[in-house]
Subunit: 409 residues, 2 copies
């Protein structure tokens, strides 16, 4: 594998032009799009319009004239295409955590005789926390949080819901959504999938696999900006029986009738609660333009090429400096990131960031590298490994400043 | 009352200079700041910085270097000063509706033997809807929604929570927060106040009156932008016993430890759930700069002068054209808006908007006029009434286009 070959790959990359759609600082190799996607160029232009024309000039009239009232549905429909859903099955709203609360609670109520929530103990903590909050609220539930290899055995006739994140945030492990959904259904359980690390990163097939509920994040692979609104999916067959216990006025059948009795909207809008965050949601809407005309199968193909390449280039470094890869080599089980354990992972990552390669660290010892095919080049992968080699060879990470923990790591 | 006198009042107005802090379209009289505050000039500058420098250039590092992680606390502290709370009692998060869900649920759990929620049947619908959602979820609760004059009698030893909005969104009626909070406490109930139409509009004294919980809106009198993040207040004495059932990772004691067990933060941060919406919350933070150095008593004084003036100028019009004022004349019972009923209120308001005076309409027949002392002039009030006079005298509202209902009214 030579740099010249990688340059040739970049030249023939059908997604190469997409890089121009992003504001990527010169010289930076950004391998943290799985934590915060970079700024799409369209977002800046669109937000200027939203600020000055929509808010600043047209003011309250923009609810109608600029379609603020349908913004959550419009954004949801754009996301639907990326995750194998129909456009009326997805809506943008709130945060991933709040959306998870809505659908997990609703799903449990659809299985009233069952008292077990199954999940992976290594699921992203907020997913586990939300389940804990609901269990405390309702009482009498068992939280069956197990290791990955025990998940299938954990499903039984008492299971109300199987709740998983499609790609493990630490290791990049990609779950078999088809198989696990099928197994859960065979036991009579419902499924709630968190797509935080898969929406926009790889083809997701919610309806093909018969998924019941899903949630996901707007600020990772969808590039909607820090803390962007999240989204929620409810399969059409469940929409009319999904009780919105977070019953705010935007989910009402007729929000502007201002009647005192709550009647849920008959469609996916019942999953919304309060007034949508127009600035943040407009940023997400503009960011999603990047995906127009993009074939997610093509994205997936390049993603696997990038992560294959990274793993290959890292092999000698990993062996020499004691980095343990925790991401599967099997394509069928790999998301769009590669992670390594290292006892000094925090300091090594800080030193690498100082060299202009941004990945991140997850406690206790995981260095994460995310690969987003829309703006990463094959030569970026080479460059990242070269700079990491410098950090390890010269032991740059031993500088005391790199081991001082920041608030957010 | 002459226009010359009003011009003199504008010249001597100590708040006059604040108008420069807002982007107000030329020739427009904006009387809808109680629905959507106008764009503060600082917001545009700050958002440009957040987009290009913080998100675009510094990317994920901004969580630390630009203090995104403390943004909800910083914004909360700025709001605290305006509502009579300590800076560690308020945090910005989610929407008003979601925040109401959190504190109403927590409050009910603090009164486990009691099964009644008391509110005004004319409360803003989302408040009533959230209570209905919680009642459906928990079962066994009575929703005692009564008319204003029956509220005091409705409080009894079974009352768990008294939930009210300080200023009635339709009529502008200002509740006696001190008295009602005291009466609720005498019965052993807790209070949840919604400050949507009072925060930033008039001095609020949460701690002076012993309020237990409160929520409020960022996009009305706080001018944070359409759908801006909301805020939530928990009195210090209740913080450690307020259970966050919406237990997301940002409310965890150590969010970045990524442990599987939820342990709530010991402070107000336990009221947060998911990742904060940084773009929208940064807009709100910048918008709050407008209030720096502003004395809310001075704001209140001008607000009452503006609404007194409007009522006075409207008297002959109201009598002649059948407009029924529903806002109290008593200063102690009036918020910062004046509302009139008219059977053709929708069309009249549309015709008035077409004349460059923006108020709004609330079903079934209420025309609302909001008065925000930071950017309204006494001459604006004169101008608004003059234009309304034209609409009524010339019956401009009879044009068919003005009676066609928009999605959002």
């Amino acid at each position: 594998m030579s740099l010249a070959l990688l340059q040739a790959l970049d030249r023939s990359d059908p997604l190469a032009a997409k890089r121009q759609a992003f504001h990527i600082p010169v010289g930076l190799v950004y391998l943290d799009g799985n934590s915060l996607g970079p700024l799409p160029v369209t977002v800046r232009e669109h937000l200027e319009h939203v600020l000055l024309q929509q808010w600043g000039t047209d003011l309250i009239r923009s609810w109608n004239t600029h379609g603020w009232v349908d913004l959550p549905l419009r954004v949801g429909a754009k996301i639907a295409r990326l995750i194998g859903a129909e456009s009326d099955e997805v809506i943008a709203a709130d945060s991933t955590s709040v959306n998870l609360f809505k659908v997990l609670l609703a799903a449990l109520k659809l299985r009233p005789g069952r008292r077990v929530i199954v999940s992976d103990i290594d699921n992203f903590p907020t997913d586990l926390y939300i389940a804990q909050g609901i269990a405390e609220l309702l009482g009498g539930y068992e939280l069956r949080f197990v290791k990955k290899d025990q998940l299938e055995d954990a499903l039984d006739e008492q299971t109300a819901v199987l709740m998983l994140t499609e790609v493990d945030y630490r290791t990049g492990y990609l779950y078999d959504m088809a198989r696990l959904t099928q197994l859960a259904h065979q036991k009579g359980a419902l499924t709630v999938w968190d797509l935080a690390h898969s929406a926009g990163a790889l083809p997701v097939h919610l309806n093909r696999h018969g998924v019941d509920f899903a949630v996901g994040c707007g600020y990772k692979y969808l590039n909607g900006g820090p803390g962007a609104p999240a989204f929620v999916f409810v399969a059409r067959r469940h929409q009319s029986v999904t009780t919105p216990f977070l019953s705010g006025w935007m989910g009402h059948k007729a929000p502007f009738a201002f009647v005192p009795e709550y009647l849920p909207a008959e469609d996916i809008r019942r999953l919304t609660v309060g007034t949508p965050s127009v600035l943040s949601m407009s940023a997400l809407e503009a960011a999603l333009e990047v995906f127009e005309g993009v074939d997610m199968e093509q994205v997936r193909q390049k993603s696997l090429q990038l992560t294959d390449l990274f793993i290959e280039l890292m092999e000698p470094l990993a062996a020499r400096y004691g980095l343990e890869r925790v991401t599967p080599t099997d394509h069928a089980r790999r998301g769009s990131q590669v992670s390594y354990r290292h006892p000094e992972g925090y300091a090594v990552m800080q030193a690498l960031i100082n060299q202009g390669v941004i990945g991140d660290f997850r406690a206790p010892d995981i260095m994460r590298f995310g690969f987003t095919p829309l703006y990463l080049r094959f030569t970026d992968v080479w460059e990242a490994v070269e700079r990491l080699r410098q950090v390890l060879q010269k032991e740059l990470w031993r500088e005391p400043r790199f081991s001082q923990r920041a608030k957010v790591t």
